[in-house]
């Protein structure tokens, strides 16, 4: 999928663990792990809002679009 999730990068920048983020936004570690590994099919606005609020960042800092081979 050409959408890449940079949650681990943002967590490292904020020096925060996945467990702490999980406890503060109320999403299970299992689900955050799916998101971090890029296996998620979709992300709710509410989840994105909670992550951005906690990590003090913009959605673009967590998600970025990388074109696949053959795409412009």
């Amino acid at each position: 999928m050409p959408i890449e999730v940079n949650l681990d990068v943002m967590l490292a920048k904020r020096k925060m663990t996945l467990t702490k983020l999980s406890n503060s936004i109320g999403i299970t570690i299992a689900n955050l792990s799916i998101l971090k590994k890029g296996r998620a099919r979709a992300i709710r606005f509410s989840t994105l809002e909670a992550i951005c609020k906690e990590l003090d960042c913009q959605p673009g800092d967590i998600l970025c679009y990388i074109p696949e081979d053959g795409e412009e």
Partner: protein
């Protein structure tokens, strides 16, 4: 402490019994086929039911009329009956056995698929794409059950009508299949498609964070 899924467990046990019975039946069928092929004196052909056939015309000659005691020739058209063949040398007996053999294999396949689906039920993980595929296979097997034996029977009847000569009887081969079974297979196929789509939606939902 009661079992978690008593009904499913009971059905699984019944399926297992039917599964072994089907294999036993298949083994017996193979043994009987080999016995007929090698030494048919072992089999009492008098007790065989014979073949279901259709006849185009059956002439019954010199029938006495009850009313006037005259001798008349009468005939029946488009009838059905059973043809009892005592001579096991006819090749179509093996074709008929092949039909039963394919029937049994398809039943075994269906029971195997059901066993797999029910084993998934025990673990409480039922709504999966794999179960949908199993249901689709069951639909194909039911379609096979509805069509394959009928196709073989048609060829048997065709063979009988071409080779067997009995005075006064005109045989004909007619192809017919159980439409209800085909309808059932199509219905199960639709359910399988819906099941697979549902499983995809569930997966999408599960992977939406």
């Amino acid at each position: 402490m009661p079992a978690k899924f008593p009904f499913i467990k009971a059905v699984s046990i019944v399926l297992s019994i039917v599964w072994y019975l089907q294999w036993f039946f298949l083994a017996v069928l193979i043994v009987i086929s080999v016995l007929i092929a090698t030494d048919n004196s072992i089999i009492n052909t008098d007790k065989l039911e014979g073949f279901h056939i259709q006849f185009a015309r059956l002439d019954i000659q010199n029938t006495a009329s009850a009313a006037d005691n005259f001798q008349n020739d009468v005939f029946l058209t488009n009838g059905e009956g059973r043809l009892h063949i005592k001579d096991a040398g006819y090749n179509f007996i093996y074709l008929r056995l092949l039909s039963v053999f394919i029937d049994s294999l398809l039943y075994i396949f269906i029971i195997y698929m059901l066993k797999k689906i029910f084993s998934g039920l025990k673990t409480d993980v039922f709504f999966t794409r794999q179960n949908g595929i199993y249901i689709k296979y069951i639909a194909y097997a039911i379609l096979g059950l509805a069509l394959i034996p009928e196709i073989i029977n048609y060829f048997v009847n065709l063979y009988i009508s071409k080779t067997l000569v009995i005075e006064g009887i005109v045989f004909k081969a007619r192809f017919g299949f159980d439409f209800r079974a085909v309808f059932l297979a199509l219905l199960i196929f639709v359910i399988a498609k819906a099941f697979i789509r549902g499983a995809e939606l569930k997966e999408d939902h599960d992977l939406t964070i």
